[in-house]
């Protein structure tokens, strides 16, 4: 019985791996744009998983999460572009970006330790705006961020002699830049998921959840809530920093406009839609909210033209309409998310316990 279950499990994992590995070639057939869209979707998975640590595990509502994405992106841009003439390799910058973002996480966390719920949300929202405004204005007196013009010609990732900015032929197979990024992101994603799973089932992960459930009781059983909360902010932020760095290198150009409040809201919606606290739910939420709007973009226009003969409603309008509708329906019928935390119960198998 058990062997059979584990066999099915392995077969399932193998199948998923196979699909993920061949996916970019299928997507390339549909158009390179879809590979780019997939790459951005994976970045949003990083971001959602990072925010999930703060919101889902520790229960701290953060509306300024995009700030850490921005910090990571600018760290990468400044250390790998002609702007300062610095060109460090990506495997050095990504950890730096993660560390700097974590530092910003602590910076945000420290003054908000005593706040909960609405009050915390407002302060974090303000923090997100402050970071964006700083990015916008740090061009004078010393030009650090290049202001609203942003930073361009950011180095693509380079591993050995292979640049991720152009197409290459491997074994007679043409592999485009986005496809290379896809595999790199997949690798990072695997890492991010493993880190997340391990954190969740650890002493620290349990402490986060305890704080979410009842902070007073958590303190009474000996959890240093100050430290553990700051750790949640720092860990969550570092994921955002890594995502930001990858975003920089993929896009080749960033400006403060990419790190606005609506992005924070979108990431939060992914976490909530998928199921706060459950890694797989959060991933599903991020993928859903990344892909569905893009699909609409490609279907709404042709459908309208076929039916009405002209474009009546812009895709963007329909997107927000459906998005709003989806959130309302979800709050009504599945308030805990599409794939909520409940599944956790099965983590400790019965036979370990009943003796």
């Amino acid at each position: 019985m058990n062997a059979r279950v584990s066999f099915l499990k392995y077969a399932g994992v193998l199948l998923v791996a196979l699909v993920l590995l061949t996916l970019p070639f299928a997507l390339t057939a549909a158009g390179t744009a879809w590979v780019r869209i997939t790459n951005l979707a994976i970045l949003f998975v990083f971001l959602s998983l990072g925010l999930n640590i703060v919101v889902g595990y520790a229960g701290l509502l953060d509306l300024g999460y995009v700030a850490f994405y921005g910090v990571g992106a600018y760290v990468y841009a400044l250390l790998a572009s002609p702007h300062f003439g610095v060109h460090l390799p990506f495997w050095i910058i990504l950890p730096i970006g993660a560390a700097v973002a974590a530092l910003f996480g602590v910076l945000l966390g420290t003054p908000t330790l005593k706040l909960r719920g609405d009050y915390l949300a407002i302060v974090t929202l303000g923090f997100g705006e402050i970071v964006r405004i700083f990015l916008n204005n740090l061009s004078r007196p010393v030009n650090i961020t290049n202001g609203p013009q942003g930073i361009a010609i950011i180095d693509p990732v380079r591993i050995g002699g292979i640049s991720f900015g152009r197409e290459d032929i491997f074994l007679g197979l043409s592999v485009s830049g986005p496809v290379k990024y896809y595999y790199l992101l997949l690798l990072l994603l695997l890492l991010v998921i493993v880190v997340n799973l391990r954190l969740q089932n650890s002493r620290i992960g349990r402490a986060w959840e305890a704080i979410r459930e009842d902070e007073t009781a958590a303190r009474a059983v000996g959890i240093d809530t100050t430290r553990v909360k700051l750790l949640a902010f720092a860990m969550g932020a570092s994921f955002g920093g890594v995502a930001g760095g990858m975003f920089s290198s993929i896009q080749g150009f960033i400006s403060p406009e990419s790190f606005v409040l609506t992005e924070s809201v979108m990431i939060l919606a992914m976490v909530v839609l998928g199921g706060m606290g459950n890694i797989w739910g959060v991933i599903a939420g991020a993928l859903l909210l990344s892909f569905v709007p893009e699909m609409l973009r490609y279907t709404v226009v042709p459908v309208q033209i076929a039916v009405f003969g002209k474009l009546l409603v812009e895709p963007e309008v329909i997107r927000m309409l459906l998005f709003g509708l989806a959130l309302v329906l979800m709050m009504r019928f599945r308030p805990a998310g599409l794939w909520p935390l409940r599944a956790r119960q099965r983590e400790f198998s019965k036979q370990d316990v009943v003796k």
């Binding site: 002493r203 303190r219 059983v221």
Partner: protein, 256 residues
Amino acid sequence: MSAILLEAHAVAKRFGGVRALHDVSLTIHQGEIYGLIGPNGAGKTTLFNVLTGLYSATSGSFTFAGEPLKISAPHQVAKAGIARTFQNIRLFANMTALENVMVGRHVRTHAGVIGAVLRGPGTRAEEAGIQRRALELLHYVGVADRANDLARNLPYGDQRRLEIARALATDPKLLALDEPAAGMNATETAALRTLVEGLRADGLTVLLIEHDVKLVMGLCDRVAVLDYGEKIAEDVPEKVQRDPKVIEAYLGVGVA
């Protein structure tokens, strides 16, 4: 008489103009069950909250296990060896019973983020130890069969026991129970009594706030009575029961 575990020295707590505790001094000996009773609003829970660091005392101090107890944060009190339960149960409702107790091990374990991510042999051994100890404690208080259920789904009596298991997981020297029998029926109260007596037999010191006078008088080695924030009596139950000041506090002054 055995050694002194906890001593309160003239502890006072004011909330603005309200004098919730006024120079309360008491002495708890190693291995005894010490009852704290008093009419509603007498300051019992306030004393608990001051002792466990949820409130800071206006004045006064504590000596615990021969050393001055520094109460700057609740988690340090837990580390020093004082664990508590709450009058209105405060479990981690959306975590399993087992996880609730595992959280209690936090203060006696060390793995950090890096340990969790790398999950080396040290971390794995510690994690296994946490789970083993948590299970032992669930067996000890008698809710092991509900280990995988969310705490919120446990029956009331089991929730009370689970909260005790979580407190025990911190390896306390002193276990402070805030009205553990509140809302329990006679059977549940009897089982609780057996549990607390077992704790004493295992060498633990228990500080007990309780309204159920019968339970307190039957269970406790010594009892202190608080009234309007002041200690009016502290002795063995038989003597406290006959103390005129205690009778007055509970029943009022005779008219005749």
